[in-house]
C-alpha cells in the first residue's frame, strides 16, 4: 500500500479520536445532521411494498395490543393488591407513589446495526424529551433516551450491553444489583444479566426483578423481568450472575411511553 493511503488512514483514526470518539459538539452536530437527513427516508419505508405490507400488519397488531394494554392497565389498577398497597401506604402516612406523567410515542425505526439495540421514536425535545429519560410500556422498562433531536429521539433498549439499570429482586428486597443487556451473541430471545448480587441471596427462577430507583435514571418499582437462572460469577466468586428474562417483548414494540415527570 502506498504511503498516501497510510496517511489517509491515520487522519481518519486521528479525526475520529479527536472529534467523534467522545460526545463533543462536533460529533453531536454531525449526528443531528445525519439523523435529520435519514429520518424522512425512514418514514419513506411506508411506500416500499415489502416494508409497507409488514407495517400494515404491525399497525393492526399494534392497535389490538394497545387495546389489550389498556385493559391490562385497568385490571392492574383495580387489583386487590393495588388497593391493599394504597391502604397500607395511607396507614403508614407515606407519600403515595403517584403515577408517572408519561408521553406516548410511536416507534418509527429500529437499530440498523446488528451490534446495538435501540429504536427511534417520533417525539423529541419539542415535546419535552431530553436524554436519560425512562421509556416504558405496559409490561415494564423498555430503555432510556440517549440522543434527542427536535422531533425524534433514540432509545437505548434495556437489552443493549450499554444500558444499565439499578435493580432488586421484588420478593427479597435486599437482593440488589445492576441489570444490563448481554445481547452480543446470536440469540433470538434477548436476555439481560443482573450483576453484583450478593452470593448469599436466595433466588429462584420466576422471581420478579424491578428497578430500585438508584442511579437517577429509572424510577423505583418498574418491572424489569423475571429470574431465569443464577450462577456464581466464575471470575470473582463473590457475586451471583442472575439471568433475567425481560418483561417487555422487544420484538413487538410499536408504541412506548416516555416518563417525563
Amino acid at each position: 500500500m502506498k504511503r498516501r493511503n497510510w496517511v489517509i488512514i491515520g487522519f481518519l483514526g486521528l479525526g475520529w479520536i479527536v472529534f467523534l470518539g467522545q460526545p463533543t459538539r462536533v460529533s453531536t452536530g454531525l449526528r443531528m445532521i445525519f439523523v435529520r437527513l435519514c429520518t424522512p427516508f425512514v418514514e419513506l419505508g411506508d411506500h416500499i411494498p415489502v416494508v409497507h405490507a409488514r407495517r400494515d400488519l404491525a399497525r393492526q397488531n399494534g392497535q389490538l395490543r394497545a387495546e389489550n394494554e389498556t385493559l391490562r392497565k385497568q385490571v392492574r389498577a383495580l387489583g386487590e393488591l393495588g388497593q391493599e398497597n394504597i391502604r397500607l401506604h395511607e396507614l403508614l402516612n407515606l407519600k403515595t407513589r403517584s403515577p408517572f406523567r408519561t408521553l406516548a410515542a410511536r416507534v418509527i425505526s429500529r437499530d440498523i446495526s446488528n451490534w446495538w439495540r435501540s429504536l427511534q421514536i417520533d417525539r423529541g425535545s419539542d415535546d419535552g424529551i431530553h436524554a436519560n429519560m425512562t421509556v416504558v410500556n405496559a409490561d415494564g422498562v423498555v430503555g432510556k433516551t440517549i440522543s434527542v433531536t427536535r422531533s425524534e429521539s433514540r432509545v437505548l433498549l434495556l437489552i443493549d450491553p450499554g444500558c444499565k439499570a439499578s435493580a432488586l429482586i421484588q420478593s427479597s428486597r435486599d437482593a440488589a444489583g445492576i441489570v444490563a443487556g448481554t445481547d452480543t451473541a446470536l440469540r433470538t430471545e434477548p436476555r439481560c444479566q443482573m450483576m453484583f448480587v450478593d452470593r448469599k441471596t436466595r433466588i429462584k427462577a420466576g422471581d420478579s426483578v424491578i428497578t430500585s430507583g438508584l442511579g437517577g435514571v429509572f424510577p423505583k418499582g418498574i418491572p424489569i423481568g423475571t429470574v431465569a437462572g443464577a450462577r456464581l460469577n466464575p471470575q470473582t466468586g463473590m457475586y451471583l450472575d442472575v439471568e433475567v428474562k425481560p418483561a417487555v417483548d422487544f420484538h413487538r414494540l410499536e408504541e412506548v411511553e416516555v416518563i417525563v415527570e
Binding site: M1, K2, N5, I8, I9, L12, G13, W16, F19, L20, G21, P23, S27, L30, R31, F34, V35, L37, C38, F41, V42, L44, G45, I48, V50, V51, R54, R55, S109, R110, D111, I112, S113, N114, W115, W116, R117, S118, Q120, I146, R154, L156, D160, P161, G162, T184, A185, L186, R187, T188
Partner: protein, 154 residues
Amino acid sequence: MSFLIFTISTLLLATIQADLPTLGWLGGLRVEFLPALVAYGALTLPRGGALLLALCVGFAQDSLSAAPFGISALSYGITATILSSVRETFDRDLPWVQMSAGALTSAAASFAALCVIGFSIGGLVKLSLLAGLSAVVTVVLSLATDYWLRVTHE
C-alpha cells in the same frame, strides 16, 4: 450525478436494512446492505469518491444506531482506502473478489463494534456470519447495479 445516486441508494438501503425483519434461523441477524454498498463503491468509484461514500454511509449507519458516532464511518473509511489501493491487482468482475471485499468491509465494522462491546466467542461467530452474509449481498448488489447500468446505457 453518480454521487447523488449513491446518496439516495445509501438512504434507501439504510431504510430497508432497518425495516426488514431479522432472520430467526440465523440467530436473529439482520441482513446488512450498507457494507456491500461500501465494498461496491471501493471497487468501482474513483478513490476520493469511494472514501467519501464510505464516510457518508458510515455516518448514516451510526445516526440510525446506538453505536458511538463515527465508529462505522471510521471502519468503512479505512476499508475503502485499503480496497481501493489494492483493487488494481485483482479482476473486480470476479465474484470471489467482490465477496472478499464485502466480507472484509463487514468484518471491519463488526470488529470495531466488538472493540467497544467486548470480544466473546458468540461475538466472533456473529462477526463471521455477518461477513458471509455481506459477501453474498455484495455479489448480488454488484450484479444488479452492473445490469442496471448496462440497461440505462443501452
